[in-house]
């Protein structure tokens, strides 16, 4: 029996548990993809940390009527 057929059976026997399983499974797979992609993109030489944003200087300034950077 495949994993997706098992999920179908789980929904038939316990819909609430199947409902709870969906976001947990999706979040776990998403997180795994995020970590793998992090390594791949880093290997491509792209800097993935915090960086100097265009609005950084502006946020330190006192309030103005129309702030543009």
């Amino acid at each position: 029996m495949s994993f997706f057929e098992w999920f179908l059976d789980l929904h038939k026997s316990n819909p609430i548990l199947a409902g709870a399983f969906v976001p947990l499974y999706m979040a776990a797979v998403g997180m795994a993809f995020a970590l793998v992609a992090d390594i791949v993109v880093r290997l491509m030489g792209v800097h993935l940390g915090d960086y100097k944003k265009e609005y950084d200087d502006l946020l330190d300034e006192p309030a103005q009527e129309n702030k543009t950077v």
Binding site: S2, M26, F33, A34, V46, V69
Partner: protein, 399 residues
């Protein structure tokens, strides 16, 4: 072709992967869940509407984790604003959903939802485009490049005059704002999202920019953090109702995980004002798609009541009949051979064609925007590498 165990539908894997990738790029760039794009796209490829919404919600639960993780590393996420707004959002969505049920009972849900959608999308398109053009005018006059616009009269009024205890300090956006202002905003955006039956990212990003006064990139990252929770909740409820096709959601997530990386990383290389311009263009195409849906609904009125009665007379339940009227093959049979109403069949065909054109408009626009974002990403990465090489060479020659 793959067999989907929950819905029993046979579908190829590549459209799912492509839809996932496209919505991943666009969603990561704008900070949206992307229900407005996924549902018509799935429908266009023959995926039943009832499963399209649930499957989309499930994939959003995974995709938003990928996007939020990246935006958080870039410093675009304000956790305190997102969590505070989430309190109001949950309450607002519930009230909105109840209002939608009330409108549904009165038979007004369809047109009301579409008119709210049209007003919102056109306003966002008009306002953001106007703002972009004004910024370009300022650029010409001053000769200084406008990269982003932070705050306006409304957001500053909220920050100053709604200064009711407790007030929080947001380190990421370096601003102070009352918790009540954020909760109220969450209720408002949640309420409208509940009525429209969407996640709410489409409204929260402009609300964060124009009413809270955070920079565009922080609005995008903060919204995605909220989408993570709304997606998880949607995945749970639709999963419990048996409306999630887990196999399709998993394939979409594979594409979305890669696409979300591209879309999110691209925000590092573009200015906030560019994000707003592309957002405005997307709003315009979404507006066009909703207008076409409204036009198509005029044709639905011709046959809907009659064909539902015919189907019920055949012993088909009302719920099943409402699903059946979305399928042309079945409608051709019932309208021509059972009801003997060629005029219904003609109206059905016209309405169906207009609806499909609407879906194609939004899908084409999404593909175009997706390609543009990838182009911006490639240009950005190449520029960064060139600058790094030049700096290394300068350092070497200096040494």
């Amino acid at each position: 072709m793959m067999h989907m165990p929950m819905s029993g539908v046979e579908m190829a894997w590549w459209p799912l992967l492509l839809i996932g990738f496209t919505v991943g790029v666009v969603g990561g760039y704008f900070g949206l869940g992307g229900a407005w794009l996924v549902t018509p796209a799935l429908n266009l490829f023959g995926f039943p509407m009832v499963y399209a919404v649930g499957t989309d919600m499930a994939h959003v639960a995974g995709k938003s984790v990928v996007s939020t993780f990246r935006h958080w590393k870039f410093g675009h996420v304000s956790v305190i604003i997102a969590l505070t707004m989430l309190i109001g959002t949950m309450a607002g969505v519930e009230v909105g959903a109840q209002s939608l049920m009330f409108l549904n009972k009165k038979g007004l849900a369809g047109p009301v939802v579409r008119y709210i959608y049209m007003v919102l999308l056109f306003s966002m398109f008009f306002f953001m485009l106007k703002e972009y053009l004004q910024a370009k005018k300022v650029e010409k006059i001053t000769g200084k490049e406008v990269k982003d616009l932070v705050g306006n009269k409304v957001s500053r009024w909220i920050q100053k005059n709604l200064d009711v205890w407790p007030v929080i300090y947001c380190k990421t956006a370096r601003m102070r704002i009352s918790v009540w202002a954020l909760i109220f905003l969450g209720i408002f955006t949640g309420f409208v999202a509940g009525i429209l039956g969407i996640g709410g990212g489409l409204l929260r990003v402009p609300a964060l920019i124009y009413l809270v006064g955070v920079p565009t990139k922080i609005a995008v990252g903060t919204d995605l953090f909220e989408v993570m929770f709304s997606g998880a909740y949607g995945g749970f409820t639709y999963g419990a109702k048996g409306m999630v096709e887990l196999l399709a959601a998993s394939i979409m997530l594979c594409g979305a995980a890669v696409g979300a990386q591209f879309g999110t990383i691209c925000t590092k290389y573009v200015y906030g004002i560019t994000i707003r311009l592309v957002y405005a263009i997307c709003c315009f195409f979404a507006f066009t798609s909703v207008v076409l849906k409204q036009v198509a609904s005029g044709y639905v009125k011709v046959y809907e009541k009659g064909i539902l009665q015919v189907l019920q007379a055949q012993g088909i339940s009302n719920t099943k009949a409402k699903i059946m009227i979305q399928y042309p093959e079945q409608m051709q049979n019932y309208m021509l051979n059972v009801a003997h109403r060629p005029d219904w069949w003609q109206a059905f065909q016209t309405g169906y064609t207009i609806n499909m054109i609407g879906c194609a408009v939004i899908l084409t626009a999404a593909c175009g925007v997706c390609s543009f974002i990838i182009y911006l990403l490639v240009v950005g990465i190449m520029k960064e590498k060139r600058e790094k090489r030049q700096m290394d060479q300068a350092a070497k020659s200096g040494a």
